[in-house]
Symmetry: C2
Subunit: 140 residues, 2 copies
DNA sequence: ATGGCTGCAAAGCCTTTGCAGGTTG
DNA sequence: CAACCTGCAAAGGCTTTGCAGCCAT
């Protein structure tokens, strides 16, 4: 059986990107953890296994994955970007109290994209949507 | 007749915020231009009339307006935040080629917010949605 | 062997902060 | 007069870049 990580690495290889231990580790961490870590969180998580790896390498490779379309970047004002290896259609619900990010599946909004095209004369290729609120835990 | 700017200034005053020439100018610029300027754009636009004003003052006051709910902040990754004095329900369509931001009116998505609440156990208070594409001008 | 990748350090950019002096109500 | 606000400069946090050396193919 082939894993998502293996598929992704194979895909990268085809595009002429070398598979280094660091790249393997960063991509595995992103895909296995199913979380939305920051670059620094990834860095610290991998530090035990890659004591000499630098944060720059994490950033560099996240950029490679971004350009390959394997990872999405989530930006919220001041804070550092978060990275999401789940590129399927889904949205994020973010707790304004503790920062928890939960995934939320939802029928696609291509209908609304079309309306946006009509009303703005743009050619629309995608959208981003997030919900803000208070998580179950912080409501207590 | 009272303008939006005057209403906003009156509201600020009620909340104990002093109306300084800088505040007046920043708010007027935001509300009159109807654009989505960065802090630095605001700073440079007002420089001729306020040669001694500092960028810090722009940031400080934008924060004041944000907290008063008169302005929205739009964040996109690396780039500086953009500020929008239109706080009515609307969304933004952003050109990935030239960065143009166009407003897009759309029926509210409270329905979807409710679904998000059900499926995540969050109490949802708001959302953010943006569309990405290529503007009319850049399609040529 | 050659091009790409890493790691390091430094730089860059946006934003915030501390503080002294001035201004508003 | 007291509180608040400005302007300046410096600091802070995240991210990128330049470069020398290393490694995969």
């Amino acid at each position: 059986m082939t894993t998502r990580v293996q598929d992704a690495l194979a895909q990268l290889k085809i595009n002429g990107v070398r598979i280094t231990p660091q790249r393997h580790a960063i991509l595995s961490y992103l895909m296995d953890s199913m979380g939305h870590p920051t670059a620094d969180e990834i860095y610290r998580a991998l530090e035990p296994n890659f004591p000499s790896m630098s944060v720059a390498t994490v950033y560099n490779n996240l950029k490679v994955f971004l350009e390959a379309g394997m990872v999405r970047e989530l930006t919220y004002g001041d804070n550092s970007s978060r990275f999401d290896a789940d590129i399927s259609d889904h949205y994020h619900v973010i707790c304004q109290s503790c920062g928890t990010i939960k995934d939320f599946a939802c029928e696609s909004l291509t209908e609304i994209e079309r309306k946006a095209e009509e009303s703005t004369s743009f050619k629309v290729f995608g959208h981003r949507m997030e919900f803000y609120g208070i998580c179950n835990h912080c409501q207590g």
